[in-house]
Amino acid sequence: MSGLSLQDISMRFDLPNGSAVQALENVSLDLKPGELMSVLGPSGCGKTTLLNIVAGFLAQTSGKLVLNDHEIHGPDAERGMVFQKGALFEWMSVRDNVGFGPSMKGMPRGEKAKIVDHLLDVVGLQDFKEKAVYELSGGMQQRVALARCLANDPDVILMDEPLGALDALTREKMQSLVLKLWKETGKTIILITHSVEEALLLGERLIVMAPRPGRIHKEYRLPFAELGVGADLREVKKHPEFGPKRDEILAMIWDMEEEIMGRTEEAS
């Protein structure tokens, strides 16, 4: 079967002081090719850990990861990653950053230039091709990061709060861009966010995770991502189901946060 499959993934961090943190417990998921899934959850519930395991930066303590019928061990170009910030290469121009993946593969220059030019058009940075990345604004830098990831043509794109460091307006534009890229490229995307609205807008599927141990608490299938492609996202937010869903999920996360706070208060 093709697609991404997580089977009973558990992750335990053994701390040097002898105690251990169960960051993930028996997380199972199946993603079909081209699915867009957003992940929500209170801080510390294991979202980043989960993404790092899928990316191959961490090895799970138990469970199995399968992508397109082969098991995942370690990082690979088939799974691209977009970080919140700080992952661009300052010593390279925008063009070289975007062309990094193809260069590593030893792709011929002409072919690479075509891909880079196309992607810079898509993210609207053609005029900034020769600039150093530190000369760009935060939003532009994230567009470079997206383009760099796409240039490598991965099967799965993993995003850990990719828009977290942007201002509200830039963020809205970037959300539209993510939807557009998803539709155009048909990539499987997992996107972690702290914003419930963003999770609703950018998730065909949405999972809410619960902490201690990290696990999937609830899963939704949503129409908003499909509606949002090429549309004004502010209009999508006026959808009659949008408000109630947002309130429901907010209350759910709020309860979890309350519980965590209560527990830490008891402990101290």
Partner: protein, 424 residues
């Protein structure tokens, strides 16, 4: 005493020019946006060096230097009072066999470069005859007043007064333009007024240093030209630094990338880091002698640890997201080394290189002070042995200028080669 006086003048110029420049001149000049900030005290970014202050600071140093060395570059009225030059007179009263007689002493105080004979004087009458003497300026001199007297000291004559003021052995009497002290053996010792200026032996005037510079430039010093001396020092620094970087950078990378290397070399590096290179000079001389080998090895050691530590922290300072991103983009270990770790560590390595060059420059001068045939340090050491203070000062200025130049050059290279420094 003079030191305190210099400090007062310096502080006076500092405070005075501050008020003149900031209250009068700055009012009249245009304002930029930092002057719109209301909070400037405590805002480091609002503090920029005042250019006028910089120029005045340098001028003040030369002004004070000139004032206290009687420089011919300054108008006379700005000079600090100089030592007395000219003719000076005092009378002494000798006592022998219960009778007293006066004699006059005439002393010529002559400038160093025009040696002068003691003037002829009329011996006068009585048993104490008139005397004369000549002393170079800045110097003191014993005047053997009894040498021509009819009753000499060994016959029981004794000086009992100077200019009519009674005096005993070990005591001092003030006269015009100087003091007279009766030595323990009973001979008057004349100390002409010294003034506030520094003796050229201690601090030559700026123009003396300048003319000596021209002389050293054209004639060289100790059978090497000035450029050869400086060139030798620079060559040693560059050779030692390059060797240190050549070994230190790969070592630092290995320590940043491998547990085994880190574990093996950490104790050595951490132990050698706090040992000042100067402390190694004696051992290096014992092992390698005073030739070029020893000096280059010393500078190699000075640069090695600095470069190793800089590149080690350059490697460990890489943002893990960048490495992860590169892996996800399909880079191999070697490609990550070449395209991520090396460029990411370059800013740190450059900072290390700047420090290392500074340390090497200081160390080479010190090593040449100890033993060398040529070099900037050797120049000032040999010059000081022959009391050529002007060459010592010339050498110090050149060492400072070159050290500064090296640093500027490194900064320039840094801006050119690692423009992304501090931008991550």
């Amino acid at each position: 005493m003079t030191g305190l006086f210099v400090l007062f003048i310096y502080v006076g110029i500092f405070v005075g020019s501050f008020f003149v420049v900031t209250k009068v001149i700055d009012r009249a000049t245009a304002k930029d946006f930092t002057s719109l900030k209301t909070v400037t005290f405590g805002d480091e970014s609002a503090v920029r060096p005042n250019r006028i202050a910089g120029v005045l600071s340098i001028l003040t140093i030369f002004l004070i230097w000139g004032m206290f060395t009687g420089s011919s570059l300054l108008p006379k009225f700005l000079h600090a009072p100089g030592p007395f030059v000219g003719t000076l007179e005092f009378t002494y009263t000798a006592e022998a066999d219960g009778q007293r007689d006066d004699g006059t002493v005439t002393v010529v105080i002559y400038p160093r470069d025009s040696e002068t004979e003691a003037p002829e004087v009329d011996p006068g009458d009585g048993f104490a005859k008139n005397d004369s003497s000549a002393i170079a300026k800045w110097r003191t001199g014993l005047v053997r007043v009894d040498a021509n007297d009819e009753i000499k000291k060994k016959d029981g004559a004794e000086v009992v007064a100077i200019n009519g003021q009674p005096i005993a052995r070990g005591e001092t009497v003030k006269i015009e333009n100087g003091t007279v002290t009766l030595s323990d053996k009973g001979t008057p010792n004349l100390a002409p007024y010294r003034g506030w200026q520094m003796e050229p032996l201690y601090l030559p005037a700026p123009e003396t240093v300048w003319s000596r510079t021209l002389q050293v430039v054209s004639e060289g010093f100790r059978s090497f030209t000035l450029w050869e001396h400086l060139g030798y020092s620079l060559f040693r620094v560059i050779a030692g630094f390059l060797l240190g970087a050549l070994v230190g950078i790969p070592l630092g990378y290995a320590m940043g990338l491998s547990d085994w290397f880190r574990g093996w070399f950490d104790p050595i590096v951490e132990f050698m880091r706090p040992v000042p290179p100067l402390a190694l000079i004696p051992l290096v001389i014992i092992w390698f002698g005073i030739g070029e080998t020893g000096k280059i090895i010393l500078l190699f050691l000075a640069a090695l640890w600095i470069m190793a530590i800089a590149s080690r922290s350059g490697v460990s300072g890489v943002n893990i997201s960048k490495v992860h991103a590169a892996y996800s983009l399909g880079a191999s270990k070697w490609q990550i080394m070449r395209h991520v770790i090396v460029p990411n560590s370059l800013p740190e390595i450059f900072t290390g290189a700047r420090v290392a060059m500074g340390v090497c420059w200081g160390t080479v001068v010190a090593a040449e002070l100890v033993a060398a045939e040529q070099g900037a340090g050797m120049m000032i050491m040999v010059a000081s042995r022959f009391q050529n203070t002007d060459i010592v000062i010339l050498g110090i200025i050149l060492i400072g200028v070159i050290g500064f130049g090296i640093d500027m050059l490194m900064r320039w290279a840094e801006r050119l080669l690692v423009p992304w420094k501090g931008k991550a």
